[in-house]
């Protein structure tokens, strides 16, 4: 939400959103050093929740160095070392969004360090899977890396941005699957509901993005309308768009939205 204006908070609360969960992500440019990340983590854990609270929207966050900046391993190590001091902040949900971007060796090293951090501090994990042509390969590499660390329980990990070619392997491995709604890339509401109908909704949730580029903070309410158009019951819709996220995030006692 750090890239958005307050009108978006107002629109979300008006549309019935109950909370916003913001992953640490790329700033649209590479930060010049660890101090930039320190300031960003302060923004995510201090200023942004206050800004959201003015619109009655509880704000939660995830912390990490985003995969887009993980090619520089030394920078990543310095940033990862900053994270533990923020983990006790009241709106922190866990480590994320970690993962891969271009599926490089360095990105994989940094992913393993984030996984280790999550294991040492018993944190939930939110995983970003790569874009477009890199998603299938990256998702496989990510699943292998997480499954290799036996301290991590798959049901405490959500693999985000799944699409039709990756959702099955994510669910088969015992992870949660996040379907991300975007106007152009990733998934439309119609495809998201297709995946829900084909693969079931036991460990699946929907999310939107509030990004620097084209993205729609109201994409989840719009997907709920899509479900209603197809005749899904209010109970089914509520389970997918609200109860499932609550079930996953509620594994962290700080997430008290019910």
């Amino acid at each position: 939400m750090v890239s958005r204006v307050t009108d978006d908070y107002e629109a979300m609360i008006t549309a019935g959103c109950r909370a916003v969960c913001e992953p640490a992500f790329w700033a649209g440019y590479d930060r010049s050093g660890p101090q930039g990340f320190y300031d960003y983590f302060c923004q995510l854990t201090d200023y942004e929740p206050k800004r959201a609270a003015k619109f009655l929207l509880p704000h939660f966050t995830w912390l990490c160095i985003n995969p887009k900046e993980s090619e520089d391993v030394k920078l990543a190590e310095d940033v990862i070392a900053l994270i533990p001091q923020f983990l006790d902040r009241p709106n922190v949900l866990g480590i994320g969004e970690i993962g891969l971007n271009k599926n490089t060796r360095n990105e994989l090293k940094v992913l393993e360090q984030h996984i280790d951090l999550a294991a040492r501090y018993d944190q939930l994990i939110l995983v970003h899977t790569p874009h477009l042509e890199d998603k299938f390969k990256g998702t496989r590499l990510i699943l292998d890396a997480i499954l290799a660390d036996k301290r991590i329980k798959p049901d405490r990990v959500i693999i985000d941005h799944v699409e039709e070619h990756t959702i099955q392997m994510v669910l088969d491995a015992g992870f949660w699957a996040g379907i991300t709604l975007y106007p152009e890339s990733k998934t439309t509401p119609a495809r998201a509901v297709d995946m829900f109908e084909v693969y079931g909704g036991q460990r699946v949730w929907l999310n939107s993005a509030c990004d620097w580029g084209r993205s729609d903070p109201l994409a989840v309410p719009k997907a709920a309308i899509e479900m209603r158009r197809r005749g899904h019951s209010d109970e089914t819709i509520d389970r997918l768009v609200f109860q499932n996220p609550v079930r996953f995030l509620g594994q962290n006692p700080r997430f008290t939205v019910r």
């Binding site: 887009k68 090619e71 971007n101 271009k102 599926n103 490089t104 060796r105 360095n106 990105e107 994989l108 790569p130 874009h131 477009l132 042509e133 890199d134 998603k135 299938f136 390969k137 496989r140 590499l141 699409e163 039709e164 070619h165 119609a190 495809r191 297709d194 158009r229 197809r230 005749g231």
Partner: protein
């Protein structure tokens, strides 16, 4: 939902997208110079629509995906272009 209901709900939207794809290919044909690998991969992916099973979305995504399994030595940049250029590019 019945097939009739699905057609009632989605046919016009799918028709519009189909014509957009046709117009895109016409536009590329009318353009000058050589296209890159994306057009080749796009045409390959279009072929997946003729499958007789309801796994077309998955098949199109796979047709545009990097099928390799090993991490690459260094990122060529931050972005993705939507199609895999093939092993020659790495």
């Amino acid at each position: 939902m019945t097939r009739q209901q699905i057609l009632d709900l989605y046919f016009m939207d799918a028709r519009s997208k189909l014509i957009d794809i046709a117009a895109f290919l016409d536009r590329v044909d009318r353009g000058e110079g050589e296209p890159d690998f994306r057009l080749v991969e796009f045409r390959k992916a279009l072929g997946e629509l003729n499958r007789g099973e309801p796994v077309r979305a998955k098949s199109v995504l796979m047709a545009l995906s990097d099928p390799t399994t090993e991490p690459i030595p260094k990122a060529p940049g931050k972005g993705a272009v939507g199609a895999w250029p093939g092993s020659a590019a790495h």
